[in-house]
């Protein structure tokens, strides 16, 4: 579906500073041939949405370990949709209870990856989605 290079934004919204997971994923995605824009920690949903727009990304990957995912993720999705980026794939990584994951998916998050997810699983998910699957 997308002809050009796949661009991914990796961001850490909220106040926890544990960014190792985000960095590991960022590197794995780079090694898989994606262009990864890394924004660092303590991003507000507004900052993430602004970066997603300016960078014209295909995928937004959020890493949240603070427990604030139920407020932060729907806000990011809402802002992306409001600015015309309904087609952006939104992924969440972190420690997310199953019932929350279900609600987040209903709110427009495309996939939730918990601890133990291999990076190849995430890469395969992005590739399939970008191929229009």
């Amino acid at each position: 579906m997308r002809d050009g290079q796949i661009r991914v934004l990796i961001a850490k919204p909220g106040l926890d500073g544990h960014d190792r997971g985000a960095k590991v994923i960022a590197r794995a995605l780079r090694d898989a041939g994606f262009e990864v824009i890394y924004t660092g920690i303590r991003q507000t949903p507004q900052m993430i949405a602004a970066a997603a727009l300016q960078e014209d990304v295909d995928v937004v990957g959020l890493s949240i370990l603070s427990g604030a995912h139920m407020t932060l993720c729907p806000k990011v999705v809402e802002l992306l949709h409001a600015q015309g980026q309904e087609d952006v794939l939104v992924l969440l990584g972190g420690i997310i209870p199953d019932e929350d994951a279900a609600q987040l998916k209903a709110a427009g998050v495309h996939a939730v990856f918990g601890p133990g997810t291999s990076s190849s699983e995430i890469i395969a998910f992005i590739r399939t989605a970008m191929a229009g699957g």
Binding site: L29, R30, E35, Y38, T39, G40, L53, G84
Partner: protein, 341 residues
């Protein structure tokens, strides 16, 4: 998935200040040379308003932080700023990790700043084309100042910054001797030097060394280590580069605290005014367009060669070289002859 927007819609949108249209247009010019031609054709008449600023320097000198602080100063003046941050593509995977935004937070929510990261992708020609096109789009999108930031290593990256209206070369204390900067070819392209991280030890020496090199045309930097004192150097530096009539300033900045950034902005504004006043601006622009033309012609000729030459001819020639029946120069000449024939 929705259908991609038609090209004309992106052109109209970006000219009207629609930032999503601008962002998507930049992706198009990066991904596809034919689309780039259409989009640039559609916006070119609206370009030429922005002050194009190239910022380059060795890794670790603090370019991204400095660009971010500079953007803030421009905003304080009410000027809008577009930033193109170029980072290398991994030669191993074709992917890239673009991290300049980490140092450029603080502008979100401000529609007057637009930051775009660009990977170097397949190297020289493609990068030069895509970055030049992206700068045209930012210009056409209405930004008053367009800053392109590249690592000052590798000819392609340095060239991109060097075709701007004003080139800022960023140095930092303690990164090795000045000969490194000479080797990289950074000294020749600077209109303004910023010695960033100037709160660190050795900043004065770096400033003095740069001023000495400007004065002596790049030679004998070592003398400064024996008797160079900043105060006596400054007068000499202001007379440097007299042939162009622009004395190249050497400024101290501390991007993280903002120290000296206002002076950097003022120096950029002075250079912009000087370019206009002296007629040097159109000379620079002409040089930039010559550069663009060359890049496009090379790409076109290469593409035509790929299209017209049979793959068989190439492998035959390689085969001939393997058997030492033909040398590489004659083989290349034979291929080019087929092309022009």
């Amino acid at each position: 998935m929705p259908k991609p927007a038609p090209t004309q819609q992106l052109i109209d949108g970006l000219l009207k200040g629609d930032r999503l249209a601008l962002a998507r247009a930049i992706s198009r010019v990066e991904d596809d040379a034919a689309e780039a031609a259409r989009i640039v054709r559609g916006v070119f008449a609206q370009t030429g308003r922005a002050h194009l600023i190239g910022v380059t320097g060795a890794p670790g000198t603090g370019k991204s932080t400095l660009v971010s602080a500079l953007a803030e100063r421009y905003r304080a003046q009410g000027l809008t700023v577009g930033v193109l941050a170029v980072d290398p593509t991994s030669p191993f995977s074709g992917g890239a990790l673009l991290g300049d935004r980490v140092r450029m937070t603080g502008h979100s929510g401000d529609a007057g700043v637009f930051i775009r990261s660009m990977a170097t992708r397949r190297g020289t020609g493609g990068l030069a084309r895509a970055s030049a096109d992206a700068m045209l789009l930012l210009d056409a999108g209405g930004f008053d100042r367009v800053i392109v930031e590249t690592v000052g290593a590798g000819q392609a990256e340095i060239e991109i910054a060097s075709v701007a209206d004003t080139v800022v070369v960023v140095e930092a204390p303690g990164l090795g001797d000045e000969v490194q900067a000479i080797k990289a070819g950074l000294l020749e392209i600077a209109d303004i030097f910023a010695v960033n991280k100037a709160d660190r030890k050795g900043a004065g020496r770096t400033v003095a060394a740069l001023e000495m090199m400007l004065e002596t045309g790049g030679a004998a930097a070592q003398t400064v280590l024996h008797h160079g004192q900043r105060m006596e150097m400054e007068a000499a530096a202001s007379e440097a580069d007299a042939e162009e009539g622009w004395p190249i300033p050497v400024l101290e900045t501390v991007a993280v605290s903002g120290r000296g950034v206002e002076q950097l902005r003022d120096a950029l504004e002075r250079h912009w005014a000087w370019l206009e006043g002296s007629g040097a601006r159109s000379a620079r622009e002409g040089r930039r367009f010559g550069h663009m033309l060359q890049t496009l012609i090379q790409a076109e000729v290469l593409a035509r060669m790929e299209r017209t030459l049979s793959p068989g001819l190439r492998s035959d020639l390689v085969e001939g070289m393997l058997r030492r029946q033909i040398d590489p120069y004659s083989a290349a000449a034979e291929m080019v002859k087929k092309l022009s024939g």
